[in-house]
Each structure stands twice: as C-alpha cells, then as structure tokens.
C-alpha cells in the first residue's frame, strides 16, 4: 500500500487549539492553589480547545497548499530531487490473524496451562486446588497468611478470584498472540511456545516476590515454564490454524471509519 509522506503537498494550517488547550490545562493546575472555579473554568476551556483540535484533524487534516517549486534554481538544486516514490518507513503486516481467534486461542491455551498446573498440584502437593488458590494471592492478601493445608482445600472466593485473573490474562495474551504472530519469525507455534514462555518467566522471576509472595513460596520453576509452554503451543496452534484477514494498521482512522475526507484547503 502506498502512502504519501506527511506534508508532501501541504503544511498544517494555523490553529489556536493548542494555545487554548494549554491555557485550560494550566488553569486546571492553577485551580489547586487558587479557587475551585478556576479549575472548572480551566477544564471547560481545555475541552473547548480539544474539540477545536479534533475538528482540525478529523475527518481530514486542515492543510495549506504550498506553492509550486520555484523555477529559480539554487546552485545545489541539482542535488535535490522530487520524491520518486511515496516511501514510508512504517512496516505493517499486510495480513493479520483475527482477534476473535486470539480470544479463543487464549481460552484454550489457558485451559492447557491450568491442566499442567493442576497436574503439578496433584503430583507435588496432592491437591488440584493449591495452584489455583496460590494464583488468587495476586489480589487476596489472605492467601499469603494461609498454610499449605488451607491452600489445598476448595475455597470458593479464592478460586473465583483465580479464575478471573487466569481468564483475563489468558484472553489478553491470546489476543496479543493473534496481533503479534504475523510479525514473529517464520514458525509462529515455535515463537509462541518457546520465546514467549522465556520472556514471561523472565518477567515473573524477579517480580513474583512483590506481585504474589504466596506463589513465590511454593513455585516450581520447571513446572511453571512447562505450563507456559503448554499455553503457547495450544494458543499458537489454534491462532495459526485459523487463517488471516487483511490488516488495517496501515490505513488511517478516517479510512477505517469510512468518513469522507474533504477538508483540505
């Protein structure tokens, strides 16, 4: 897809929107040390400025035409040429996986991950609930105070919290897979099952004591990596198998919304 470089044929039109918006923002700050109404007035002015700003760029950017190149040549004009091609430095994938496949891939990958974690719970702690309860420690401080016996039992509140965390993260990761796989190296399942677990484990390892001290006390890193790999393989397999659709990343929001562009001056 060919794109024109910015301001090849025009330059942005003058506007007071930035000035007005900046003034409003400053008044919002000043309201803290003067009067509440200064803050309210500033917010109104800032909104007016933003609205004007929005109008300056949507649906089409307000541009001023620039004159045709001067016929008088400067002595070094032979070194400059008109652009022969509408080049762009942005590199976008032309096709991408649909985000819906990412959601489903995330769900399936999340199930696979949970299965591995449950096996670890059964093998090493004789409880499928323990890994789930430990995950709840991210948001429920009471998990950190519980002993292993309590962690091995079914606890509806902890399991509910863990399912919400696991579900949300799995879906989010699945969607990221769908978006990222087209720009990953050749073998998406390999990238998903090896590269991502390594990255995630690297991120979790130094932060786990802060994010989830309870899990940090029990975690088995080989099993943790194994569960990540399970997620990556299943999610990558699902997403890669769903095919691709045309990507829109290289198109402007106006084009994507189908709004007529006609405000050029």
């Amino acid at each position: 897809m060919k794109r024109e470089p910015p301001y090849q044929h025009g330059i942005p039109e003058s506007t007071s929107a930035p000035l007005v918006t900046a003034f409003g923002v400053t008044l919002v700050a000043a309201g803290l040390v003067t009067n509440l109404w200064v803050m309210v007035g500033g917010a109104v002015i800032a909104l007016v400025g933003l609205w004007q700003w929005f109008g300056d760029v949507f649906p089409g950017e307000r541009l001023e035409e620039i004159p045709a190149p001067n016929a008088t040549q400067r002595r070094w004009d032979f070194a400059v040429e008109a652009i022969q091609r509408a080049g762009t430095r942005g590199i976008y994938p032309e096709r991408a996986h649909p985000w819906r496949s990412g959601i489903l891939g995330g769900i399936f990958g999340g199930v696979a991950m949970a299965v591995v974690a449950s096996i670890w719970g059964l093998v090493e702690h004789s409880s499928v609930w323990l890994p789930i309860n430990l995950l709840a420690g991210c948001v429920m401080p009471s998990v950190g105070d519980a002993d292993e016996t309590a962690l091995a039992l079914f606890n509806p509140a902890w399991i509910g919290a863990a399912c919400m965390i696991h579900g949300a993260l799995s879906v989010a990761c699945g969607v990221l897979y769908a978006l990222a796989l087209p720009i990953a190296p050749q073998r998406p399942i390999l990238a998903g099952s090896v590269a991502l677990p390594v990255i995630v484990t690297g991120l979790v390892w130094p932060t786990l004591t802060i994010v989830n001290p309870a899990l940090d006390g029990f975690i088995s890193w080989p099993w943790f990596v194994g569960s990540q790999v399970a997620f990556g393989v299943v999610c990558g397999w699902w997403v890669a198998g769903r095919g691709t659709v045309e990507a829109h990343a290289g198109r402007s929001i106006v084009d994507r919304m189908g709004v007529h562009r006609g405000r050029r001056r």
Binding site: P6, I11, S14, A29, I66, E81, Q84
Partner: protein, 552 residues
Amino acid sequence: MTPDAPQRPWTAIVHEWTVTVDHKKLAIMYIAFGLGFFLVGGVEAAILRAQLAQHSGTLIDPDTFNQLFTMHGTTMVFLVGMPILLGFGNYLIPLMVGARDMAFPRLNAFGLWLFVFGALLLYYSYVGAEGLYGESAAPDVGWFAYAPLTSRTFSPGNSTDYWILGIMVSGFGSITTAVNLVATILCMRCPGMTLLRMPLMCWMMLVVAALVLVAVPVLTAAQAMLLLDRFLGAHFFDTQGGGSAILWQHVFWFFGHPEVYILVLPAFGFLNEIIPVFSRKVIFGYALMVAATLAIAFIALAVWAHHMFVVGLSPELNSFFAAMTFLVAVPTGIKIFTWLGTMAGGRLRFATPMLFAAAFIGLFTFGGLTGVMLAVVPFDWQLSDSYFVVGHFHFVLFGGTVFGIFAAIFYWFPKVTGKMLDERLGRWFFWLLFAGMFVTFFPMHISGILGMPRRIYSYQPGRGLELWNLITSSGVLLQAVALITFLWNVIKSLGSGVPAGDNPWNAWTLEWSTSSPPPEWNFDRIPRVSSARPLWDAVHPDDPDSAYEEGA
C-alpha cells in the same frame, strides 16, 4: 517581506505567532522566552551576588535570599536551558532531516504553550502565593525541593505548590516536544538519509528526547506524590508517617542527573556541527561520537545517587555510584578527543561561533574534571553542599550549555533571520562573557574548599572568604556588560545586519540548502541525499562524500 509590502498591524502579527504551528516560529518563541527568562534568572543571580559581595551583607533579607536562589535555579534549569535547547531542536531537526515540519505540529504548539503558561504560573507565585513569611511568597525550598522542607509543616501556604504545579505543567510540554522529536527523527527523514547519515545534532536530540521521556515523567510522578502529601495527607515523603524523605532525593535525582545531560547533549550537538565547518574537515569519528552519546545516555541513568553520598548510603552503593560516575567520563572524554581530532590539522577559522565552541571544550572539561573529583566519595563528604559544588556545576552548565547556546545562536542566527550578527560585537561579547564567567565561577571552588556552604545568606569576616566572594560578585558585572553587548548586537543586526545569504558559513547540512530565513514549508522540493554532507556533494560533484561510503 519586500520594502514595498504594506505594514501589517501589530495585532495581526501577534495573532499569526500565537496560532502558528510552524516549527520555526514555535522554536523562535521557545528560544526568545528562554532568553527572556535567562535575563530574569541572571538578575536574580546578580542580587544574590550583591548580597554576598561583602561579609555580613544586609542588602536583602534571608527570606528573599531563599526565594531568589530557588527561583534562580529553577528558572535556569527549567525555563532557560530546557526551552532554548528544545527550541533549537525544534527549529533545526526538520530542516536537517529534510522534512516540512515536525511530525505533530499541533502537539508542538501545545508543548510550547504549556511551557509558557507553566512558567507564568511559577512566577505568579510572586504575586499570588503565600508562604512561611506571608503573602507574595515565591517558592523558597531550593530548586531540588528536598523533603521534609516541602512538607506542610515547614512550607505552609502554597508557594511550594506553585513550584510543583508550574514545573509539572512545563514538564508536560517538554514530554510532548520529546515525543515530537523522536517521531520526526525516526519517521520523517528525507529519502536517502539513513540514521548514520543524519547530522550528529539529530543524534544528540534523539538521545536527549529519549532521556526526557525517561526522566521527566519520574519527576512529574514525584511531584504528584508530593501534591498528595500536601493536599490529601499522604505520607510518601513524611518520615514520621512511615514515608521516606530520602525517597524524594532518589526520585528527584533519577530525573535530576539525566537532566544535566539533557542540558548538555544538545550543546554537544551544536559543537558537532560548528567545529567541522570552521575546521573545514569532516567530523573525526562520526560513529564513535554516536556510540559515546548512547553510552552517556545509558550511564547517565545510573549515576543519580552521587548527589546523595552524604545521606548515609551503604558503602556498596556509594562504590557503585562512584564507579558509574567515573565511567561516564570515558564517553565524555571520547567526545572531547573527537572534537580535538576534528580540529587537528584543519583550516581553523575562529569566527564567533567557533570561539564559543572552543571555549566550551576547555570550560566543560574543567567542569567535568571537578565532577570526577566530587565522585570520589570521601572528597564529596568534605565538599558536598559547598561552593565548590556550585562552581563545578556552573562550569558545566554555564561554560558548557550556555556557551554552546551562544555558539549556536551566532551560527544559526543568519539562517533564522537572514542577517549576520556583527562579528566585532560578537568578539567583544565572547571575551567579556568568557572573562566574566571565569571571574565569577572559578573563585567559587576556592571559597568552597575554604568551607563556604552553598545557599548561605551571609558569612562572618575573618575566615578568608571576603576576597573570593568579592571577586565572584565582580564577575557578574562583566557578564552583565557582555549580555548588554549581545542584546545590542541582536537589535543592531536585525535592523541593519549584513544579508546572510543561504549558506554564509559554507556548511554542509540540509538547513543551509534552503533560503534564509526558510519558507514556511522549508524546502521547495523534498531533498534526496546520498551522504552525511549533502551540500558538499552538491558543490563537489566530482568528489562527493558518497563515493567514500562503504559499498559505494
């Protein structure tokens, strides 16, 4: 405008400049406001020095003294250095990369006006704030506003809040400008301009913008925490409430030390353009200079606690930060040798820009060496918070940044205005400022070694400080005369300066290929380049630089 063109009403001119999104006009306003605040900060410093010219001075009261050194430091860092340097970036980067404007022109204007309004909000404190000593109280907590001095207990009223909010608003402006610079440099280079064909100035500004994006949000976050402490009773920096006063020092200096490089790297960029042109040689070690800049940026993020050696950090931390500070001298030294290598064997022409650039090398090296001395922890324990430190950072920031700025003003003034600055007045200005700078700041090292603390309102006689303080204060007079010379030069040259032509210095980068001043759209045609010195290639088609590039 031709002589026959009708005179426009001043209101139309004001309107044109307030609604403009043209990067060149915005940059000129950045620099003009910055120079305006330079005069304000200079007057504040002059009053401080008048108070200290003699022992037991009573020119101003201690409260005013505290406000003046706070506003002087804050003004010079946030309202002079940042806007002028970002202003130069704003003006030059699109021209140097062959673009018609910055990537986000409206955001560019937004950044400028945030800076202006933030500055006005800070100075409004002189009228609207209340402080420890009553109404009309400017901030008085020092430019780095250490906790717990900024707590409600020690800083009642709202003068400190004005400091927080003014800097915060201006800081948002700096962040938007940094975003713009990064996007412009990475995405809007003209065809043929690879990263390693960019003028080194673009590399410096790219690194500076990255440092702004890393460092300034940290300060903004710290200021937000301080606001929470002051308005909502949080205890981030309240030791008695479970917080930590040292935490403020950590977060402030995590911003504050990269800020030093934010203030000096653009000046490095100016030298990278000026020294080759006035030596008639290609820069010696382009890739080395880029690598050294990147190294400085990374190391600069890991030296902040050398400002905190006296708070009682562990020996391991002291050792680490001392070592990192020594380390940053290595890439900085590479730069010094790179400039010297460029000058060596060149056909040197000491016009005013080159005079400032050459002086920069000596003065900055001196300031850097005293910085290395302060990185020695036991030495720092003796001289921390003394006038030695004040002398050190003024050699770096005045001898470095300010001299770099004036080098740039004399170099690019012809491009911006179409008129040459008067060379004779320029030389007078240089020598007066050089002498004034040395007379002012060198004796500070000695008074510091003799035991004079910084920020002290007065001092007793008989401690050997009188002479050095008198010399320091007299240097301010030289600087004042120098600045009057400069202002007269600008006014005179704008009115009756010699027309500059497009490329008065016979330089090689793209900004000199367009008219002086450039049209609003910069280039009639978007340039296409094939080496780092496109104008050299254009003038010497028989021996272009591109022929020597790898793979050519």
